[in-house]
């Protein structure tokens, strides 16, 4: 059996869990096993029925009043009991912030660790070889699992497609799990400040990264955005340094955008940035490091100094627009 984790907030599905279902179904096929899904919750608000429409052996509702809001202690207890009962070969999850928080804890209880943030896998001589990114995306590593089940694997967002999850008709099973002491008290989740700019509607985005070097240089990128009639955005370190406000941040912690044109200036292309902009129609990268991961997803690239390229671009665009 392969167990897929269903993440939700008050019964509302986190869509990446559908990617986990696809991953579990794909692995199950390759290994001659069946996939099931697990929903930790206090009461299943119709979510089990939603998930039961996929081709799974069963949907396990791991239920306890203490699972009303997420805490790592409660989630770990629920998972521990389900794993002991079901003896899965693999536990498969999407590599979300919540999963990062509790999955290694569950694994450690079984004297295991997590094979985390996997981007793909293949079967080789009957064994599974998983690939994950290392060195901030600069290199790939092929990794194998050793030892006995259960194995814990998390997949990077986009490694499997949600719309490839196969439909079917699964049974529902409720397990009333024990949850012990919960040593942390959560408050309500909140958004820091209502975003004053909505970059999701921008057609053209000029984004700056650490390569911009200083706050003064942001003006150069602003000029480029202005001549293009676009908006300015940034990678995380720029917003951390408060060179631009946080509502300009693109990526897993910030906004997700898909403009017609995304120009990345001095951005390396870390996965947490890329998930926020990879669906842009056209991606341009200007970076002096030819190995920067941003070039993996760029349609057009300039390997070189952005301080040489951008002023020329501004002049050239002005010429074109002047005609």
């Amino acid at each position: 059996m392969i167990l897929a984790f269903i993440e939700h907030k008050n019964g509302i599905l986190n869509k990446t869990s559908l990617e986990a279902i696809t991953a579990a179904q794909t692995l199950a096929k390759d290994l001659g096993l069946r996939a099931s899904a697990v929903i930790p919750c206090d009461e299943d608000r119709g979510l089990a029925r939603e998930i039961a429409q996929y081709d799974l052996e069963k949907v396990i509702v791991a239920r306890n009043p203490k699972l009303n809001v997420y805490t790592p202690d409660a989630w770990a207890d629920a998972w521990t009991e389900v794993i002991k009962k079901e003896n899965p070969q693999y536990v498969v999850m999407a590599h979300t912030y919540q999963v990062r928080d509790f999955a290694p804890k569950v694994a450690a209880r079984f004297e295991r660790e997590v094979l985390a943030d996997v981007i793909r896998y293949r079967k080789e001589n009957g064994h599974l070889v998983f690939t994950r990114r290392i060195f901030l995306g600069k290199l790939d590593a092929d990794v194998v699992l050793q030892g006995d089940a259960p194995h814990f694997v998390t997949f990077q967002s986009g490694a499997f497609r949600a719309d490839k999850a196969e439909k079917g008709n699964a049974d529902e099973e409720i397990i009333d799990v024990e949850v012990g002491e919960v040593r942390m008290t959560p408050e309500e989740p909140f958004q820091e400040a209502k975003a004053s700019v909505d970059l999701t509607k921008s057609e053209i985005i000029v984004a700056v990264g650490r390569g911009i070097k200083s706050q003064e240089n942001i003006a150069l990128a602003q000029q480029l955005a202005d001549v293009l009639g676009g908006d300015l955005a940034a990678s995380r370190p720029i917003c951390d340094a408060e060179w631009l406000p946080i509502d300009r941040q693109i990526g897993s912690s910030g906004q997700t955008v898909a403009p017609k044109l995304y120009i990345a200036l001095g951005i390396s292309g870390a996965i947490q940035h890329v998930v926020g902009m990879k669906n842009s129609q056209t991606i341009v990268a200007i970076n002096k490091d030819p190995e920067a991961p941003i070039f993996d997803i760029a349609d057009y690239g300039i390997v070189g100094d952005l301080f040489e390229a951008v002023p020329v671009m501004i002049e050239e665009i002005k010429k074109v627009k002047g005609n």
């Binding site: 660790e113 006995d148 040593r183 958004q191 340094a241 044109l261 349609d299 300039i302 050239e316």
Partner: protein, 258 residues
């Protein structure tokens, strides 16, 4: 109050990485090394918490080879009180569970009130050593901590976790607890000349680690340059200015945004 901060030495962000001839790791000898970015923030947060409380001890713990001394020296110069160096050469061979197990053994007698770590390392990026360590030590944890409510410290501590897409959440923890710290939580201080001088007399305990058996370790078989998924048109052939002219032409004729 005692805070243990875990800090790791990793390859410099901008270093050019060469793959070793056996394909299993990089040539470490020719790579400039630095303190893992988020670990630096973990130390800063520990120092600020100690300063806010007006008492306490910050103990830096680094697992790594002899070169990791640079990380320790720097942390002591910034204000850590003492250090534990767990000596393991070729520590990249350790899986996260093994690393956590060795560290648990080395620090358990410290009885720390708090353990801070970076949220992931910029080399192997397992992102779980802290969480496994908390479980091995039997203490609660939180990951991706982006703010610490220093004024709340009183046998308990409030911390702000980052959720996805611009959401946050505060949690209150009873101590002892372990937190993995996100980069950017605060501005990192520089070491002062006085700090550098003082660091020389601060105690560093060296521990020779025994590597625990761990049959379930994940094993790196091969590393390589990522396969390209997209055909990128590289413009200018190394000349950024010419690239810019070509790019604007493409924006006009192919992308059609001008």
């Amino acid at each position: 109050m005692k805070i243990v901060v875990l800090m790791k030495q990793v390859a410099n962000k901008d270093a050019v990485l060469r793959i070793r001839s056996d394909g299993k790791w990089i040539e470490e000898a020719d790579v400039a090394m630095q303190t893992n970015e988020s670990d630096g923030y973990a130390l800063e947060e520990a120092l600020r918490l100690k300063e806010a409380k007006g008492e306490g001890e910050v103990v830096v713990c680094s697992l790594g080879g002899a070169s990791a001394k640079a990380v320790i020296k720097d942390a002591l110069a910034r204000g850590a009180d003492r250090a534990i160096h767990i000596l393991v050469e070729e520590s990249y061979k350790l899986s996260p569970y093994q690393t956590a197990k060795i560290i648990a053994e080395a620090i358990k007698d410290e009885q720390a009130d708090l353990i801070f770590t970076g949220l992931q390392s910029d080399d192997v990026g397992y992102g779980q050593t802290g969480v496994i360590l908390a479980e091995l030590l039997g203490i609660p944890h939180a990951t991706i901590v982006i703010e610490v409510d220093r004024s709340s410290l009183n046998g308990t501590l409030r911390v702000k976790r980052e959720l996805e897409s611009g959401w946050y959440q505060w949690f209150k923890y009873r101590l002892p607890a372990l937190f993995t710290i996100q980069s950017g939580i605060s501005q990192i201080r520089y070491a002062t000349l006085q700090g550098i001088m003082k660091a020389k007399s601060k105690p560093v305990k060296e521990i020779q680690a025994t590597i625990p058996e761990f049959p379930s370790a994940q094993k790196i078989e091969k590393i390589y340059l990522p396969l390209k998924t997209k055909q990128t048109q590289l413009l200018g052939n190394g000349d950024a200015k010419r690239g810019a002219i070509e790019l604007v032409e493409k924006l006009r004729t192919e992308v059609r945004v001008l």
